[in-house]
Symmetry: C2
Subunit: 279 residues, 2 copies
């Protein structure tokens, strides 16, 4: 594992590391913000999943999350959005292939050789982070757009792995929208039954009722250009209403799909996660 960037930031340090991923069979980079508290004690970790076209850079340079992570003593890990490299399958589209891993394990050629982002994010990356940094095993997860889909799906599939979950502008029902239909057809094949376990709205319906299900905190801008076609938060809202799943969906007038929206509310999300991680 190799450190490729390090910058003092809000009393802590923003780093970027490169390592060989076993799950993805390629070299990967991730950003990690280590607040000053991590010099003294193990700190809980928020995993942030970015959206289509992003790398590990977008969130760490644009969201302004370090200020709040420093305040609450939370480590923030921001991985890349797909396997990378010349040997990794790709498509000539922004919404499929490299930069568009959709946080699932692909089962179909040519994607299945490398596209195992679920296993990378849920298992390999936390193992690495908890071994190499002063990180505890108290984990939270959040993300934006495709990464909001990832955060919801990974938390719903792995309820014992995350203490809290939130999302900005998530693709809540990928099986019913163009971005998800295209990606799932490529990565998972034509059988739509196989898509259910990678769709947050479907998972809410199939998750057994538990006493301690963490609330889904979802922020959505009402001026988001993808709201009606790709995001459709009302589908998650309906699934949660039907099953009694706890959802806190906040609609924000005027906000769009950009990092200006994320920056405006990331402080509230980090406070939300920090409260759950302290328990």
């Amino acid at each position: 594992m190799q450190k490729v960037e390090t910058h003092a930031c809000f009393g802590g340090v923003q780093e970027v590391w490169q390592h060989r991923s076993q799950a993805l069979d390629c070299d990967m980079r991730f950003g990690i913000y280590l607040p000053s508290q991590a010099r003294e004690a193990r700190c809980p970790v928020l995993y942030w999943l970015s959206g289509l076209t992003c790398t590990e850079q977008n969130f760490i340079t644009k969201a302004g999350a370090q200020r709040y992570a420093a305040e609450h003593g939370v480590i923030v890990v921001a991985p890349d959005t797909s396997p990378r490299g010349p040997q990794v399958a790709d498509a000539e589209r922004y919404d499929l292939g490299q930069g568009a891993g959709f946080y699932l394990n692909a089962t179909h050629e040519p994607w299945s050789a490398h596209y195992r982002m679920h296993d990378y994010i849920v298992e390999e990356l936390p193992r690495l982070v908890e071994a190499q940094f002063n990180a505890s095993d108290a984990r939270a997860i959040s993300g934006h757009s495709m990464g909001g889909h990832g955060a919801l799906v990974l938390a719903l599939r792995n309820p014992d792995r995350y203490r809290s979950v939130s999302a900005f502008s998530p693709i809540v029902a990928p099986a019913q929208v163009p971005w998800g239909e295209q990606a799932f057809t490529a990565y998972l094949g034509d059988d739509r039954d196989a898509w259910r376990s990678w769709d947050a709205s479907e998972l809410v319906r199939s998750t057994p009722a538990q006493a301690n299900r963490p609330v889904l905190l979802v922020d959505q801008g009402e001026a988001d250009e993808f709201l009606a076609t790709q995001l459709r938060p009302e589908l998650l809202e309906a699934a949660c209403r039907e099953t009694g799943y706890p959802l806190r969906l906040r609609r924000h007038a005027g906000y769009d799909h950009s990092y200006y929206f994320i920056a405006s509310f990331i402080g509230e999300h980090i406070a939300h996660h920090a409260a759950a991680l302290r328990n």
Copy 2:
């Protein structure tokens, strides 16, 4: 004047505008953050000058300033760093020509036709901002690196125009460092006497003592890769000591030249300016 971007952000709006500049004789873009307070009343304005290679985008996407501007009710205007366009002289270097205007009025060919950033920033842009937006004529100025040089020089040259000034990692003595020597030779010619009025350390020596000179607030990272060769804050420190000019130079262990440094302290700068702008 044409709006090319608009994003809700921290209750206000981050916009980007394009307009024809008379001073520069080309089309220019600038970012403007309008806090919610500007819907009700004229707000004071902080002008932010960016560093080499930057456009109007870097500060507005990376500094996280909107949060503090919203808190204090300050409009933040972030112009581009030089005239732009195919008809504008350029050099095959990152530190001369487009992206490297050095906030001066060039006197030598081929630069003098367009490179009049001093007049653009000090006169044309505030006139435009104060006419088109809910902006008062209470102005402050700040910047980073080449833009820190710009902020100090413009404030020292135009003491009646700005109520406060600050800088991150500024080029405090351009006449004595490679970046400045190269740019000044091109833009101003070989006569070093002509350079003095564009050099903050020289201006501190030549500025007549006044009762109400605003303190120069300067933040400098000690791990800045340009500290010893291009920035040399000790030269400004010496000039201020000799002349009794008020300087508040803060050196920060571990911080580098990046936006992670700016983000960490921009809140304190905006609070500093807001206090001066309220008077």
